[in-house]
Amino acid sequence: MEERITIAGFGGQGVMAIGQLLTYAGMIEDKNVSWLPSYGPEMRGGTANCGVTISSEDVGSPVVVDASTAIVMNKPSLDKFEPTIVEGGKLFINSSLIDQKAERDDIEVYYIPANEIAEELGNMKVANMVILGAYLEVAKPVKVESILEGFTKVFGEKKAKLIPINKKALEKGAEVVRKQMAATV
């Protein structure tokens, strides 16, 4: 088993954070993991992305060049990372901010209105967790419980009070994607 995930969006959308959550969860489950951020002369509102590898084997190259999954939170990220997904891979598109469809037909594509759902939940900041929830439901790289276990490790003990809303966001994302899967079968 090896999942190579690219997560991309604007700085501030929490793409690095959900990457770290996935990585932590993988570690909790005794898998081999690696998290590599893009870094550069970037600023708030600029583009950000990270590559996460979760594997039953040792992690070779930490650079995700041929992603098994891409999660894209904004349009520039869709343009940049759609071509990098392996054939048969998965693409999760934040359809709240991206009104464009994927071009490829050799990958599985899921459209998640992450921002709208987050708004309904009353906290815009959990849009990243909504799309993460959808991804976890489809690909099952790690358990949702492991993600929640890693939450305070990534965000600090002070943020423990935010676990319920984040849990709800994960569940909502899973629910939306289940409906999409049911519709396509």
């Binding site: 770290q20 990585t23 932590y24 570690m27 993991v33 690696s34 998290w35 590599l36 951020p37 870094y39 550069g40 002369p41 040792d58 992690v59 070779g60 190259s61 930490p62 650079v63 060049v65 490790k153």
Partner: protein
């Protein structure tokens, strides 16, 4: 201690503190600034001193002074900052003081870029400062190994009274991986009876110095240094190798680049190719002898680096003309991909290059 997920740069700080390092002198520079940031937060809590110097020159000379008093001390920087430290490093090597120097390499020359590179191999292994001196140069490939080598690096420095350099790149500094802090194999470390700790009126003052005005004295000093370097060569070489008995092509790579090579190797094996690996963990002393283990029918050695061919020279020295030596590189902050390496190996197989 349980595993924790840490960013390479922060793991360096945690490992150094685990090894008993209480003093850090440095100056921030991307892509290693999380390390001084970590030290500025954590060292004072442990009763240590973090000091952001006014420049890299000042920082390395503070390391010189602290090392002279016998404490465990470190500095860190990235390529252009390490260049500025070369004078001090030469003095520290000349005065035979133990310390740890971390270089998280970025693209060069000059200010270059802030993206990962391996362009300071020559500077690290040949001596960037003046004089006949050597650093022990350790090149970790993952965050766990980074932690292990930092902890052992302090022991190596103390054992031989020699500066040790950790040579990483922006990738290993920035990436997060699980780490565990383990005690290294126990070494017999000599007493630091040379340290300038105050005589208490009971002994002659110890003098820390790299100046020998009498040529006879300096020659003797240099001969002794070389004897020490020979001991290090004998005792401290570390290398990982794979499938040298069977391989038709052997890849030589170090640090993060070796991981990209490993991904390429496992893909090539699925397609039926026999590819080996030599991954030097110590870049100085270099594991030349490891290349003797390569089978006689090997078609060639492919060196992969994020520079224009620096370790390549050591590979050529090691194989003594026995095999053709090929090279693949990305530079300027670009990172080689497994596919590029796969293509190159196939070309060597097919006799196309």
């Amino acid at each position: 201690m349980a595993k924790v997920l840490m960013k390479g740069n922060e793991a360096i700080g945690a490992a150094a503190m685990e090894a008993g390092c209480k003093y850090f002198f440095g100056y921030p520079i991307t892509p290693q600034s999380e390390l001084p940031e970590y030290m500025s937060r954590e060292l004072p809590k442990a009763g240590g001193i973090f000091l952001q110097a006014e420049s890299e020159l000042a920082a390395i000379n503070m390391v010189y002074g602290a090392a002279g008093s016998g404490v465990r001390v470190m500095t860190s920087s990235s390529s252009p900052g390490i260049s500025l430290k070369q004078e001090g490093i030469s003095y520290i090597a000349g005065a035979e003081l133990p310390c740890l120097i971390v270089n998280i390499m970025r693209g060069g020359p000059g200010l270059g870029s802030i993206q990962p590179s391996q362009t300071d191999y020559f500077q690290a292994t040949r001596g960037g400062g003046n004089g006949d001196y050597r650093l022990v140069v350790l090149a970790p490939a993952n965050v766990q190994e980074l932690v292990d080598l930092i902890i052992e690096g302090f022991d190596i420095a103390d054992q031989y009274r020699n500066p040790v350099m950790i040579l990483g790149d922006g990738m290993i500094g920035q990436m997060m991986e699980p780490v565990e802090f383990k005690a290294p194999k126990k070494r017999e470390l000599p007493e630091k009876d040379w340290a300038t700790t105050g005589t208490g009126g009971k002994r002659k003052p110890n003098i820390i110095n790299s100046l020998y005005l009498q040529p006879e004295d300096l020659e003797e000093h240099n001969i002794r240094l070389q004897q020490k370097y020979n001991d290090i060569k004998k005792n401290e070489i570390k290398v990982e190798s794979y499938n040298l008995e069977e391989a038709d092509v052997v890849i030589a790579a170090y640090g993060t680049t070796s991981r990209i090579a490993k991904t390429a190797i496992s893909q090539l094996e699925k397609e039926g190719y026999k590819v080996g690996l030599i991954r030097p963990i110590t870049l100085w002393p270099y594991p030349y002898d490891e290349f003797e283990k390569i089978n006689d029918n090997c078609k060639g050695i492919l060196t992969v680096e994020m520079n224009s061919g620096q370790m390549l020279d050591d590979v050529k020295i090691a194989v003594k003309g026995k095999y053709p030596v090929y090279f693949h590189s990305r530079t300027g902050g670009m990172i080689p991909t497994p596919n590029e390496i796969i293509e190159k190996v196939k070309k060597i197989y097919g006799g196309e290059i």
